[in-house]
Symmetry: none
Subunit: 208 residues, 4 copies
DNA sequence: GATGAATGAGACTTCATTCAT
DNA sequence: AATGAATGAAGTCTCATTCAT
């Protein structure tokens, strides 16, 4: 084999797969197409991946890692936990907007279209939640964030962000609503949901 | 023709399609399988639906309508807008938990696996947002909800809820976290994000 | 119905069918396409024709008649039976070259691709053979043509011409051979096959 | 794998295809039927043939080769070129009568029902013409055949024979005409068209 | 006369996967 | 490691024909 071909076939497959996924979408993502792209028989893919799902899982893992890395870097810039939280949200959103297809790969398993994502791979995925958890804990310590269970809160935070980007990327947004505005408003609401407030106004005239 | 066969083939197809989708998942959803289920030639499906996507879109439409109907009914029970909002959230969540597959149909287009959901069908889908919008507007009028753009807020509210249920249904939740608890916490945070508060505590020592 | 629509549907169908056949070929000749062309349901064609073959038979009949008409006119121009025969041949060839698709319709039944062409329709087709027969009989009377069974000879004459045009139209001719030259040579040979000759040279040295 | 299954699938397909074609006719010739016949998925056919036409072309090629082989053998029996030519004609006719369906396969492309027979396959087909050409050249050398362009003449000879058999096999012959008689007469005429004659009688009283 | 709905067959394409080599 | 052959399923399209209205 040539020097230039030192890149392992496995890596070549993953690269080609990412390429196909990003350019053609999951719908047109086929093993044969990937094989064609790197001039290898489709069968060869099975030497490195159990099946199609396994390969997709690898791409998911990659995407998750990339997102997590971006989030990790973001938190160092600020000291105010609220600012940090906001920054996290904007990084998350930024990643999704910059790499919509890759972002969507992360949530490919939302539906039942794939065999279950292997539990052990979720561990890596958890890093993102941990980053959020830490920021939330900082906020709690500073008395700025009202949260007795930061780990759960990290998940709710994450989930809400995903919901927002999911609506944006699936283009379900009402055409009369500006996308940027929507994202800003959403993040504002999400953050406010975690902030400590002196009092919440409630109308005592109403039931419940 | 039998009395029993009075149900139009189109309806039979939709019913069978829903059945297949709910029991086998989108992944194993095939026109041929549907045809087999109602003992009809696969060709016949094309007399009523342009293609697979068209049929799936119909199912989506149905699911959206069912969800919207459930939300509509829910709002009458309370007078307090905050309570109404909470009720809406719990109805949404309830629908998703009661009919996970059907709920997921609604968001099938999140990924790029389908041809775009036709714009005109979105109009029907909008009813849900309108219901939320109205409740938010009530809240604004009562001074309980701080929102200058209720329509946008309705979308953010909806998106946040979707994010929460998406995480739940895709079973991505950390095994150490109780699902019910997670949902409750999430809804609490979401609602709080819209409530008027007298003052938000901020640490003036920090930058930003 | 409008005045303009007085043309019977049957005629409209035949016209459209001919149109489709000439422009798209037999291969792409479908009842649906014909129906579409005249904005009628495909089913309606069955009100006027038993089935697809029946319609095609009608087109065949038409084409045969057109060819026969052309042959009929041609014979009046000459008095010499040999010249007449030659003229017939060139008219036949001319028709095939001018209307290749229509000509080929006549021979659609060569293979077993169609239900048998109804016997009674062959009677009309026979006119062409009769024209040839007459010319041959004239030739016999003039002592120019050696033929004791002109009717059979008419069929052999016709068959040979068909063979020639079949090779030309199916583009099976060697590219090194000029089409026009080929046709001329062929006709020459065919005609000579019928002419009276004083003596045929034979090599008495050979067997048989 | 069984000994019996050593025959390549490709060959099995061709065999089954020939079988179906010969027994059911081109009209009822379907890839699915062939697949069924050899208990193979229809898809598998596409691994060996581009499409239906490609398979049919292969059958054509085969049939042409068989015909050519039969013609090749025939010529050795005689020394007289005229006798050789006659023998060629009778072999041609014999092949068509013995294997009518297979013969017709050769001329399947006469009509426009198929994609064009690929040019490169015609080269093989040319052998038949070459055989005829050689016999004609022999005849010219012996002074028995009057032909300055034997290659063209070979094509005209071939075409005439095809015309004759085409009429016979499509059963277009007048019921009052005996088929055998018709073939004999035809061959006689065709051969005579190539023979040298001392003088052709012409009536000088006529025009042209 | 005319039509819409339905059927069953078929061509063609693409695919994930398996198996023997 | 790698591959070619094969499979079975499926989507999509087109078609001739039938049937009830």
């Amino acid at each position: 084999m040539d020097e230039a071909q030192k890149i392992s076939l496995k890596q070549q497959i993953v690269d080609a797969a990412r390429q196909v996924l990003l350019s053609d979408g999951y719908r047109n993502f086929s093993l044969r197409k990937i094989a064609r792209a790197i001039d290898v028989s489709a069968t060869s893919i099975y030497l490195h991946f159990e099946n199609k799902d396994d390969l997709v899982h690898t791409l998911m893992e990659e995407a998750i890692e990339r997102l997590n890395n971006r989030l990790e870097v973001s938190t160092v810039e600020h000291e105010d936990p609220i600012a940090k939280l906001k920054e996290l949200a904007y990084e998350y959103v930024g990643f999704a907007l910059d790499n919509p297809r890759e972002y969507q790969v992360i949530y490919l398993i939302s539906s039942d279209e794939m065999s279950r994502y292997p539990k052990e791979k979720f561990r890596k995925a958890r890093k993102g939640y941990e980053i959020v958890t830490q920021v939330l804990e900082e906020g709690v310590r500073s008395g700025l964030i009202a949260e007795d269970q930061p780990r759960i809160a990290a998940y709710t935070f994450w989930a809400q962000l995903h919901g927002v980007m999911s609506v944006v990327l699936s283009q379900r947004l009402d055409t009369r609503i500006d996308q940027e505005k929507f994202i800003e408003e959403s993040i504002d609401h999400i953050i406010k949901g975690y902030q400590v407030r002196t009092s919440l106004k409630t109308n005592t005239n109403f039931d419940e």
